[in-house]
């Protein structure tokens, strides 16, 4: 497969709260041959708080990002952050309206061509790279790790803007994690709200909503919750103290999917950057290794049994052939005897039902 070259928009979180996402994303992309060209002198995508007060201002910020990319000859852009993605997409859509784009161009003081495509890092991983290629890169399988994927509100919604996966029951991240070797548990709350938007206006709401997600993850037996959004990650990881204080007694590490990819690809520890997580992930990995050992032992036993079965079957076949030969020189007779034998066996099988 040829290498992929795309523009890259890290988003503000990447420089602060989600450094581990940023770091692991770049490392994983390098490993998969995805060339990232960071948009020079990029700025805020115009998401919170601009978009809630002035859509033109928000679009102007987004437009400047695209303009910067355009000046550098960048066409297709990817970003790890779903919130940035949503805002950049919405801006592209709004800019098709000439009246709106005139308002924005008044702010940017230059004409804008908006012929870009923008997608998420996750989307590129599953659509362009593909799970097969990811599976092929795995050097340290996550076998034995029980995970639930958490997509959050924005990764697939609003449906018309994001145009990615099933809006209510997405499975892209599930497939990706399976490719890494992990056991993905059915998780009913994968698109529930983590309360991110309320983290500043209301201290009560966020722990309740985030707690519900963690509680469900614990209930279905997950070792950890895998995320793809910096804001979700912060809410789920950083607030576990508050959540426990609220009565939900769960301790669950919340890594980014790119971090798990980095680990599965056996990239340097610094690239996986697990040390940036608040809740320690190492106990989960320890648990994973124990389980993996058990699974492998089971598998070995099963394989041995299978081999034994095959050996016995071969032996029987050889004996039957010997017998047939003895039956006489008439080849046709030998054949019919063999056929009869098989038939009798099938009948017996039928009677069992």
């Amino acid at each position: 497969m040829s290498s992929i070259n795309v523009g890259y928009f890290p988003g503000c979180s990447g420089l602060g709260t989600s450094m581990e996402y940023e770091r692991s994303t770049r490392a994983v992309c390098r490993e998969l041959g995805i060339g990232l060209r960071e948009i020079p002198d990029w700025n805020c995508c115009g998401s919170t708080p601009a978009h809630s007060t002035d859509s033109a201002l928000s679009a102007a910020l987004a437009s400047r990002v695209f303009a910067q990319g355009e000046n550098a000859g960048i066409g297709d852009v990817i970003t790890p952050c779903p919130s940035c993605l949503k805002n950049l997409r919405v801006a592209l859509e709004h800019m098709e309206d000439p009246l709106f784009s005139a308002r924005v161009e008044a702010l940017t003081e230059r004409p804008l061509k908006m012929q870009h495509s923008i997608r998420s890092v996750l989307q590129v991983m599953v659509e362009d790279v593909g799970t097969e290629r990811i599976r092929g890169r795995v050097r340290r399988s996550l076998k034995g790790l029980k995970v639930v994927p958490y997509y959050g509100c924005l990764m697939t919604r609003p449906e018309k803007v994001m145009r990615f996966d099933d809006p209510e029951n997405p499975v892209a991240l599930d497939r990706l994690l399976e490719a890494l070797g992990a056991e993905v548990l059915p998780f009913p709350l994968k698109t529930d709200c983590c309360g991110g938007s309320f983290s500043i206006p209301s201290r009560k709401v966020t722990p309740r909503l985030a707690g519900r997600i963690l509680d469900m993850a614990g209930e279905v037996g997950a070792d950890l919750v895998v995320v793809a959004c910096p804001l979700c990650q912060m809410n789920l990881d950083l607030r576990q103290g508050q959540i426990r204080a609220g009565g939900i007694d769960r301790v669950l590490p919340v890594p980014y999917f790119t971090q798990l990819m980095a680990r599965a690809f056996a990239l340097p520890e610094a690239d996986a950057a697990f040390n940036k997580l608040v809740e320690d992930i190492e106990p989960a990995f320890a648990c994973m290794q124990r389980r993996a050992a058990d699974i492998e032992a089971e598998e070995r036993k099963a394989a041995a049994a299978e081999a034994e079965k095959a050996r016995l079957a071969a032996e029987r076949a050889a004996k039957a052939a010997e017998k047939a030969k003895d039956a006489g020189p008439d080849g046709a007779g030998a054949k019919s005897a063999g056929a009869k034998k098989t038939k009798g066996k099938a009948d017996a099988g039928g009677g069992d039902v």
Binding site: E168, P188, E219
Partner: protein, 652 residues
């Protein structure tokens, strides 16, 4: 030609904004117009008499009336001129009310426009030719497609009136959706107790021939004389021999077949009699589950059948029938609710459809009338009903209301309490739609007497938690979010046009709407007719409706069919296409486009020529617009007539 022109005042409806006398004066200068006048009410008796008198006095050979839309009074005036001895097709109307006086107040412009419309009508009339309808005999037999309650009603009514009836049913039994219901609202009486005897009547009626497990393959012909091909699908059981004893279904080793009749609530066998009261009560083999067909060996049913009715070699068979009229009563199907991922999309076994729930409630159903959770077989306590799943939802292309779900949900909530006295029902609804006799009272009873809790709001999500289902939704009356812990969730799945309804419509050459429901002839005045003469509609195929409405429509369709087929001869509309054989070059383009297969190629002294089958032609004129040399012309709308109208306007 001598043309008379009558400009109607329609009281002040027209005269208020059109100078009718001035229009008449201008009309008197038009070609061949020998008499023009204005008149107070042309359609009233004095008006018609005046027209007749003028025809006689001035020897008129054609009449133009400028009044309302021809869609209103063209037949009235045609009859009037005919009374005066003028052929009914030597008549044209100019629509100066709906198209002039009612849509603008500028008297100068309206008067001018009215005069021009009269000019066009007169120009067309000059080229009108006398037309006479032709009579043809009628086949006194009715085809009913679909053996649900609407089709049954239509068939029985028609048969009781003495008409021969052929009924075609896709499934191995008639009864349709109603046969699957446990009880009916608002009387909560037993569905099969009221339907069963009617089904038996169909089987026993001397005038009814039933083809079950059969489909309509092809329809040709025209009103009064349709030629119908019916494909009887292979059941692999000779129904002449089958006694319906059911021994085969007991012995069949393939016991994990999908049970269509029971909506998959429990498994069934590969050879089945759908349910004990099935009509015809005959066994049939579902090939996809049968071991004999899939593995090439088994033969158990053939061995046990006391009459030797099983025949694995059976092939589909085609029957040809001539009928005079057709009633389509093909019902509906449920929307594929699995598109709703937020409700689990089929991943949670304890989320069931309302129709599955009916089968669970039914004493003859697979659970014997015991309501059990499919996941673990335990009896539910909290049952949540979710309304409008696939109804009133533009996001999945189903913006319409299915009409009957509010009522059956109320019924199911009542039945739940009857079956499990300790249970609690919750109903999430958008609006309660209960406009029927005793319907609204019924929805009050379920809340007040049976304690069902109605929550006004949509369900946003259903997810499993600890063996239960969490139903999260909005309570828009309280303005809050609610979560209900449910043992069983019943989705009131909306209905849609039955699968392949559009293909059937195309065979019948009737129109259907964007959802696949068949179009009635007129939404108010022709509710069971279609625009294809001789084809009628009954039941939900025309639009979703409950049992009483379906039955009423079944009777209505039968009445319409009886009216048609009570006549020995029918008149064909003479406004049809005809071929000028001298000019036809036999290029076949008209034959290719005719939607009614009304044109055939004939040989005329070695030359291929087109010929219109007069009784089949519907008069659309598509052939006329297709024929490059204009050799085929639609009577009353010929090229020259339309050109005359255009030239009356555009010749500067």
């Amino acid at each position: 030609m001598k043309i008379g022109v009558f400009i109607c005042h329609c009281g002040s409806n027209i005269a208020g904004t059109v100078d009718c006398a001035a229009v008449a004066e201008r009309a008197s200068t038009y070609p061949d117009v020998v008499y023009a006048t204005d008149i107070m009410y042309a359609c009233a008796e004095p008006g018609q008499d005046a027209i007749i008198a003028a025809i006689k006095k001035h020897g008129l050979t054609g009449v133009v009336v400028a009044s309302c839309t021809p869609r209103m009074h063209e037949p009235t005036f045609r009859k009037a001129v005919e009374r005066a001895g003028v052929n009914r097709y030597m008549f044209e109307m100019a629509n100066i009310r709906e198209h002039v006086s009612w849509i603008g107040k500028d008297i100068e412009a309206n008067t001018n426009k009215a005069a021009e419309l009269v000019r066009m009508a007169a120009a067309k009339l000059r080229l009108d030719r006398e037309l006479k309808p032709k009579s043809f005999p009628v086949t006194k037999r009715l085809l009913v497609i679909g053996g649900g309650v609407a089709g049954i009603q239509a068939a029985l009514d028609a048969a009781d009136a003495g008409l021969e009836v052929v009924m075609v049913e896709k499934q191995p039994t008639i009864g349709g959706k109603m046969a699957k219901l446990d009880k009916t609202f608002p009387t909560v009486d037993c569905s099969s107790c009221i339907l069963g005897p009617r089904m038996v009547d169909v089987a026993q009626h001397p005038n009814i021939t039933l083809y079950a497990y059969a489909e309509l393959e092809e329809v040709s012909g025209y009103v009064g004389n349709f030629d119908v091909k019916i494909r009887k699908k292979a059941t692999y059981v000779d129904w002449d021999k089958c006694t319906g004893c059911g021994l085969c279904t007991e012995k069949c080793p393939s016991k994990k077949s999908y049970d269509r009749f029971n909506e998959g609530v429990g498994p069934t066998t590969a050879i089945i009699i759908p349910f004990p009261q099935a009509i015809p009560k005959k066994a049939s083999i579902e090939r996809e589950y049968c071991r004999q067909f899939n593995k090439g060996k088994c033969g158990v049913c053939a061995k046990v059948c006391p009459t030797g009715a099983v025949n694995y070699e059976m092939q589909d068979e085609t029957v040809e029938v001539k009928v005079g009229g057709i009633v389509a009563a093909t019902g509906y199907d449920l929307v594929d609710w699995k598109v709703y991922s937020e409700y689990g999309g089929g991943r949670y076994p304890d989320v069931v459809t309302s129709l599955q729930y009916e089968r669970m409630l039914s004493a003859s159903g697979p659970t014997g009338g015991h309501v059990k959770r499919p996941s673990d077989g335990t009896e539910p306590v909290n049952v949540v009903f979710v309304q409008c799943v696939g109804s009133r939802d533009p996001s999945i292309g189903r913006p319409y209301c299915s009409g009957f779900c509010c009522m059956y949900t109320a019924k199911q909530a009542i039945l739940t309490k009857d079956h499990i006295p300790g249970s609690q029902s919750y109903v999430f609804y958008m609006d309660i739609r209960s406009p029927g006799k005793g319907y609204d009272e019924f929805t009050r009873r379920v809340q007040e007497e049976y304690g069902a809790r109605y929550v006004r709001g949509r369900v946003s999500m259903i997810y499993p938690k600890g063996g239960k289902l969490m139903v999260r939704g909005a309570d828009t009356l309280m303005g809050t979010q609610v979560e209900v812990e449910a043992d069983l969730v019943v989705l009131a799945v909306g209905a849609e046009a039955s699968a392949n309804s559009s293909a059937l419509a195309e065979k019948l050459r009737i129109s259907y709407d964007g959802y696949g429901f068949f179009m009635e002839g007129h939404p108010k005045l022709k509710p069971v007719e279609t625009n294809t003469a001789g084809v009628f509609l009954a039941g939900s195929c025309q639009g979703l409706k409950d049992i009483p409405s379906s039955v009423a429509q079944g009777s209505a369709a039968a009445a319409k069919a009886l009216g048609l087929l009570s006549r020995d001869m029918l008149d064909s509309d003479p406004q049809i296409a005809s071929v000028s054989v001298n000019r036809c070059v036999g290029c076949r383009k008209c034959i290719e486009v005719c939607p009614f297969k009304a044109i055939q190629e004939v040989d005329m002294r070695g030359q291929p020529k087109a010929e219109v089958i007069e009784t089949v032609c519907q008069g659309c004129g598509l052939c006329n617009a297709t024929c490059p040399q204009g050799a085929i012309q639609l009577s009353h709308f010929t090229d020259n007539q339309i050109l005359a109208e255009v030239e009356a306007l555009c010749r500067f």
